[in-house]
Every structure is written in C-alpha cells, then in structure tokens.
Amino acid sequence: MGPVSATAYAWQLGECLLAIALAPLFAGWVGQCRAWLQNRSAPPLWQPYRVLRKLFHKDAALATHASWLFRLAPYAVFATMVVAAAIVPSVTTELPLARVADAIALVGVFATGRVFMSLAAMDVGTAFGSMGARREMMIGFLTEPALLMVLFSAFLAFGSTALPRVVEVVLRQPHIMLHPSLFFAAVAFVMVLLAENARLPVDNPTTHLELTMIHESMTLEYSGRHLALIEWAAWLKLFNYACIGFTLFMPWGIALHGAGPGLLALAIGALAAKLAVAGAALALLESVTAKLRLFRAPEFLTMAFLLAVLGLLVHLLLEV
C-alpha cells in the first residue's frame, strides 16, 4: 500500500457511511425473503428505516435503577459495530483504518460490543435481562474460538491477517485457486454467523416468547432512541458478518487499491448483488431449520469449531 492520502480517508468514511445506511436495508431484505418463504405478505423493504424513525421520535424511558452504564451501552455497542464496519472491506480495500487493526482485533471489537450489551442487560436487574446476558456470554464464549479458527484457516491460505490484504492476494493472483480448506471454513463461518447474529437455529430474531430469547431479552428494558441504536447495531453486525464472509470466500468485485470511481460503482453493484443472494440464502436457511434447544447450542457450535479445525488440517494435508 502507498502513502495514505486524503482520498483514502474519504473512501474510508464513505465505506463506513455506506455500511450504516445499507445495514437496515439488508435486514429488511432478509425479513422480506423470510415472509415470502413463509407465505406471509411481506413488509416493505424499507420497514427497518420506518422502525428507526419511529423509535427516534419516541422518548426513551429509563428504569428507576438504571445507571450510567445502561445509558452508555447503546452508544458503545453502535460505535463498536461502526468500527468493525471500518475494518471490513465491503467495497474497497483502500482502508487506512484497517492497517491499525487486523481481523483478530476485529474479533475483539465484536467481543467489546457483546460485553457492553450484556453488562447493560444485567444493570437493571430484571430476571429476563440477566438471563439473556448469561446466554449471550455462553454463545459468545463458544463462537469466538470457532470464528478465530475460521480466520486462521483463511490466513494460512492467503498469508495475511489483514482483511484488505486477503482481498488483494485473492484478486491479484493470475488464475483461480480453489482451497478445500476454505470449504470447511465457509461452512463453519455460516454456523458462527447464525449463532452470533441471533438467527435460527440458535435464537429466533422475531420471537415473542421470553423464555427462549437470547438477544431480544437483553433489549427488553430499552426504548426510544436507545432501542433504535441497539437495533441498528444488530443490523450492522449482520451486515459486517456478511461482508467478512464475502471478503474471505468470494471477494470478487471489491475495488482494489488505486481503483477509479467506475470500478467503485461496480464494487457497490457487486456488493448489492452479493447481499441480495446472501440475504435470500439466509432466509431460506432460517426457514428450513427448526430452533435448537438451548442446550443443543453448544453441540452446534462445537461442530462449527471442529469444522474450522478440520479446515486447518486439510490445508496442511493438501495445500502445503
């Protein structure tokens, strides 16, 4: 990479804003696909934006015992997701901030968001909040090693821990290389994505049954702008995970260092296409799987971890 110019920072800022703006749209698309697959009439694509507008117009009600932590948490969670969006190359690899933090730091950023969310859920002292927080920490404790293993097998295949560098390595090589190890990593990654973003089969994002909730039970005490930020952060997290998946397993279309505005427009189009396909696939996956009992979730995530380790082994056998 060359010296960091003002344009690079402009691209960085633009990419962050694009992620923030597109994340609700992606969530809306997934919701729409799910509704179609379940034979319901679908909400419009911009439903999440309407939800956000409604929530921002409402007053935030706070519990009597809520401390500063409870009020700080939505902003902190949202901020961590924006930082994550800054590190993950979604349309361009020209990301000055990504040099500071590689993908291992990215896992740490996600963990920070989770810690804030769980602490805030425990802060008010309701039963559901602390139950959800504990479940969330359990899921997080199981997904993190699996995610790290997925990232490690990608790094072994491409020789770098920085996500923009991975994209450059893949896109600049002269002929197509298939990596059997990444096949395993991709399956493990999808399992991690489902668990981390509170999707079926681990958690149901649209549930109204408190006893099975994980993510939703942590947000029960929030309202108004706080709830809006938390929802937005959850959508951003899903968007970020989708973009990590694209970076590792199908980076085609992302604009490389030094690309012009034409290529950038192409990259945005490619991102939109990939998101459309990924959202439909996610909705399909969620429609055909039944929710696991909470005590089966560790089994599911152990499987993800082992598949990722298997990916590393296959790399050592076939690709060295």
């Binding site: 298939l178 059997p180 399956v187 499987m303 082992l306 050592l316």
Partner: protein, 221 residues
C-alpha cells in the same frame, strides 16, 4: 500447490466435501437424513471418479463411475428407503451420547489418518496422492460411526460409507481397482444389503426394536 491444474483442484475440493459429509453423518441423529447424506456422498464420489477418469484418460474408471452411480446413488438408497418405510423408522431419532466427545475423537482420527497417509502417498505416482489421507479419514470415521451407533439400520449406513471411503482410496492412489474386483465388490454390496434387510426384520421380530443393545441380554425373562 501453485502448479495444480483446475481439475486436480476440483477433485481436492470434492475430497474435502467427502470428509465434510462423513463428519455430518457422524453427527446426524435422524435415519432419514443420514440416508440422504449417504446419497450425497455417493454423488460426490461419482463426480470425483469421473474427473479422475477424464484427466487420466482411463476408460475403465468411466465404467466404475457408472457402476457407482447406478449402485450407490440409485439402487442401494432406494432399497434402504423402502426398508425404512416398511420398518416404520423414517422418523427415528437415535440418541447420541456426548456428541462433542464423539466429534473430538473423530478429529483425532483425522489427524491420525493424515499422519499415516503422508509416507504412503509420497510413494504413489498419481496426481491425487494427497487425497489418500482424506480417504483413510473417511474410512476411520465410518468405523467410528458403526461403533458409536446402537441401531442396526444406521450401522449399515456406516458400513456403506466405509465402502465409499475404500473406493475413494482406490481411485486416488492407484486409479481404481481391476474391473473384476470392482464388479465383485458391487455384487457383494448388493447382496449384503439384501441380507441386512432380512436381518432387520428378524432382529425386530425377536426384540421388538432395532436397538442392538438388546442383543446383549442373553436370557429371556
């Protein structure tokens, strides 16, 4: 790694898929889905055999791919599906004891198989010699599946998956076995599945279940 042709890379990918399916079979509780996974394993095997045949220009491998397609993707699963419906175990849900431990043992087996195959595959001359480790791993995982299961039906599926692993080992190291051997094995498998079918009915008649733990009680009470 850099100079592999696209066909070889695709075959390696398919080998990876075989291993993945073996692990999925190890973790699958439902008999019905287990059988579907077996069909997929057969299909992947056919695809890889076809690719090996076309890259190495070997006619007899085309025949054995066709044999695999007919036998392992169509006939055997069809027989097993019918058996499953007759026995009324389509929705059977087999309890697995301690799945994470089972998976860890499976992982250890994979490491063992890869280590074991390394010196052997160094001697082989085919383009696919690296996949011998995967073939061995599939065989060992099928063994593990047979050991860990308690129902006769799932053990038979484990047996068929074992045979798939052997077949893959043969194609990857020596470009397949002689046609006589392969035909003999195919016939054996077919007969074996018929006999298994008869056994299923006998076991169920005697013990009212296909759970093999009950075979251990020798006295009638």
């Amino acid at each position: 790694m850099a100079h592999l042709s696209l066909a070889t890379q695709v075959i390696q990918m398919l080998a990876g898929a075989l291993l993945l399916i073996s692990f999925a079979m190890l973790a699958e509780r439902r008999s019905r889905r287990l059988l579907i996974l077996l069909v997929w394993q057969g299909a992947v095997l056919v695809a890889s055999t076809l690719l090996v045949a076309s890259t190495a220009h070997l006619t007899h491998l085309f025949y054995s791919a066709a044999l695999t397609l007919v036998l392992k993707v169509c006939v055997l699963p069809w027989i097993l599906f019918r058996l499953m419906r007759k026995l009324g175990i389509e929705r059977d849900n087999e309890p697995l004891v301690n799945l994470p431990t089972l998976m860890l043992v499976g992982l250890a087996l994979v490491i063992f198989a890869f280590g074991l195959a390394q010196p052997v595959s160094a001697l082989a001359t085919t383009v696919l010699r690296d996949t011998l480790g995967i073939a061995l791993a599939v065989i060992l995982l099928s063994f593990l599946m047979i050991l860990a299961r308690r129902k006769a039906f799932t053990q038979v599926i484990g047996f068929l998956s074992l045979e798939n692993g052997l077949f893959f080992a043969a194609t990857s190291t020596t470009y397949g076995m002689p046609m006589v051997v392969e035909l003999g094995m195919a016939l054996d498998l077919l007969v074996a599945v018929f006999i298994f079918g008869i056994f299923f009915f006998h076991i169920r008649e005697q013990f009212d279940s296909l759970d093999l733990d009950q075979l251990e009680s020798l006295k009638e009470d």
